[in-house]
Symmetry: C2
Subunit: 413 residues, 2 copies
């Protein structure tokens, strides 16, 4: 068991690093190289080279990758000033709303056009699968370029969090619609789901930012080596868990944990002995690429061929163009609107969750979504994931490639 | 699944850190506090507080803990000069041999005395369970005290590696004896097992130390961020896997990987940008305590009560005194002989492996070892693990507790 894991880690870390370095050499973000390295590893069995089949399904690797993306969003939260985020709050809220509504409408239209025999609820499911941004890719690209703190970066991050709450609400409505429940039942569920999610964020951010400096001051009096770093990780893991307990993505909790700890003066509390970023970066440097190479590994190129290519193409176009409407929702002056629209493009787990639920629901005895529609949604996730890094780099990347430079640092205190 | 892991990590990291800090406050090594924190967590269900039952069996936590002890021995290998180890080679070899033979003889005697109805092969199994030192605890205590480089520390480390090879040979003989195989069959197996283990170490150390600087020089020409660190981890994981593939403990491979990379000039190759120790320490700081708190968690206090307390006590005394004979085997001048004997005390997985095999073998239709003997061996592992940190600290610890100081650093280049 441990032997299997050791080989898998050696292979995945090597592939991720080679892919990342190669991408950086070609002027592309390292994350694109990691994704493609994963796709290549996943395609080996089809070429007759076996041994990588189990990698995508290994539970320990999956857990390590999940921890990686949680640490990534924690780092991103730590390097985000809460005040800056509040400043762009109105824009982020509007961007999130427009970014959910427009892609849903476009997805509904694509469904009505290409799957006319399916029910309107099925069309709505296709649209819902296009609604939620998956912030991991954008966060990674912005962090690698040192652009997390830019106004456009802040708006995308804020919008992605609100987006996740909206996605939950959409999911509750859709399941209610598909289940044929009465309108009042859906409204009750909706209110409850929304209250839990908004309540979590409110409590975590307001109470957390009040309590964290006090908690860390007490911990600092223990004067134990690594106590503050351990406590920071514990807060990150606890809030990630709490987010998932209220139905949000764990990474939303990790981002909130970063925002909560952003105001804690680590260096001061530990007399300069503990610098959170110095200890967090090496941990993230190992686990984060694991997340992205595994994301590539999960791509089943074979399954894409079986789906409707036209549907996949139309959904991808709808997904990309739909989020460009977000640019219009930016009310903060002096923001690169196109960068916001591009940063909102990636779709991920939430899209796949909708696709899965759409396949499992069969209100009239027939599944809402067939395997072709599912494969098309998977293709849309792949396309939006792969186009974002080069587009963002093209739009925002004026700095030289980070490949040969020092590690990107996190502004922690 | 990820939610469960997040809670478990938050709980285990908090418990480990609190235990470690408390132990340091009391002048004890942090690892003792981590072990006892694990024991306390494991005892909660018996006190009516549920929720920690699954922690000891969680596959992901187990894998993370295994990675932790692998990284610990990798760090220890990196901070060990290969030349120093060769210098104490004769002492280490003699210490390992005496440290296997004397405890085996004492264990055989204890068996013959307290379990007269069992077969002589069963007595030999009891003795064999006392033979192999488990180097994790000693390595951790020495590292925390900054005494890895002391002559006594080097001898214990070298002896522990040889010890693991001897343990494999003893295991091969024992299984042959219990299976009733002919003498020539056992000798063939023995030669093959020994050749594999010695061959692995020889190839890894000689070829590895020749190839590593060349491999890293090529990797450095990629000039990618974090390439050298990733490659170092990949070498560590690959050699740990290779060790387990030839039947050795993965940590022996990790230690060998550290020795192989000890001579690679990381800072020079990366123009000072990459310092291996700076990147490795935070990773180990999270995973290593996880290993020790889980080790404590695996202690089943209830099972100890059911075993023969006299047998447990006699085996523990035999295990501790048996390794003190090692002090006589030190031929290198100017070495703290008592420290060597104390450092060899901890027993671990290998003892439990012998106990398990002894329970599963039933040559005459009756298991060689009953549940009472098994519980006694588990108790012996627990006692030897818990007494070592305070004893080593008493003997070698003249420096102040590491609790409030800076992180222990690894001499990497």
């Amino acid at each position: 068991m441990i032997a299997h894991l050791l080989v898998a880690l050696a292979v995945l870390l090597t592939a991720a690093k080679l892919g990342g370095v190669l991408a950086a050499r070609l002027g592309q973000p390292p994350v694109l190289g990691e994704l493609l390295a994963g796709v290549a590893l996943g395609a080996l069995p089809a070429l007759g080279l076996h041994g990588t089949e189990g990698l995508a399904r290994d539970a320990v690797l999956e857990a390590l990758a999940e921890l990686g993306v949680i640490l990534l969003l924690f780092e991103v939260g730590l390097s985000t000033r809460f005040a800056d985020l509040v400043k762009v709050g109105a824009s982020a809220f509007l961007v999130a709303c427009i970014g959910v509504v427009v892609p849903m409408a476009l997805g509904y239209g694509v469904g009505a056009w290409l799957l006319p025999e399916a029910s309107p609820v099925a069309h709505l499911f296709l649209g819902a699968a296009l609604s939620a941004t998956s912030v991991g890719i954008t966060a990674r690209v912005l962090r690698d370029m040192g652009r997390i703190g830019s106004p456009a970066g802040q708006i995308v991050l804020g919008a992605a969090v609100i987006d996740d709450v909206l996605g939950l609400l959409v999911l509750a409505v859709m399941v209610g619609l598909a289940g044929g429940g009465g309108g009042s039942g859906v409204m009750t569920v909706l209110a409850w789901v929304g209250a839990k999610a908004v309540g979590f964020l409110g409590v975590a951010l307001v109470a957390g930012r009040w309590a964290a400096p006090r908690l860390f001051a007490i911990a600092a009096r223990l004067r134990g080596q690594g106590v503050l770093f351990t406590l920071a990780l514990v807060v990150c893991f606890a809030l990630s868990w709490a987010a998932s307990a209220v139905g949000l993505a764990p990474i939303v909790g990790a981002f909130a944990a970063g925002l909560v700890l952003e105001g804690v003066p680590f260096a001061e509390l530990s007399d300069g002995a503990e610098r959170l970023e110095e200890r967090l970066t090496p941990l993230a440097a190992v686990l984060v690429p694991l997340f992205f190479v595994r994301m590539g590994l999960a791509v089943d190129l074979g399954a894409l061929g079986t789906g409707s290519l036209a549907l996949a193409g139309a959904l991808s176009v709808a997904a990309i163009l739909g989020k460009q409407a977000c640019a219009l929702a930016v009310v903060t002056p002096g923001v690169d609107r196109l960068a916001v629209g591009l940063g909102m493009i990636p779709r991920g787990e939430v899209g796949l969750i909708f696709a899965n639920i759409g396949m499992s629901l069969a209100p009239g005895g027939r599944p809402l979504l067939g395997p072709g529609a599912f494969a098309a949604i998977v293709a849309m996730v792949l396309v939006t994931t792969l186009v974002t890094p080069p587009l963002l780099r093209w739009r925002m990347g004026t700095a030289p490639a980070a490949a040969a430079g020092p590690a990107p640092t996190v502004r922690a205190a």
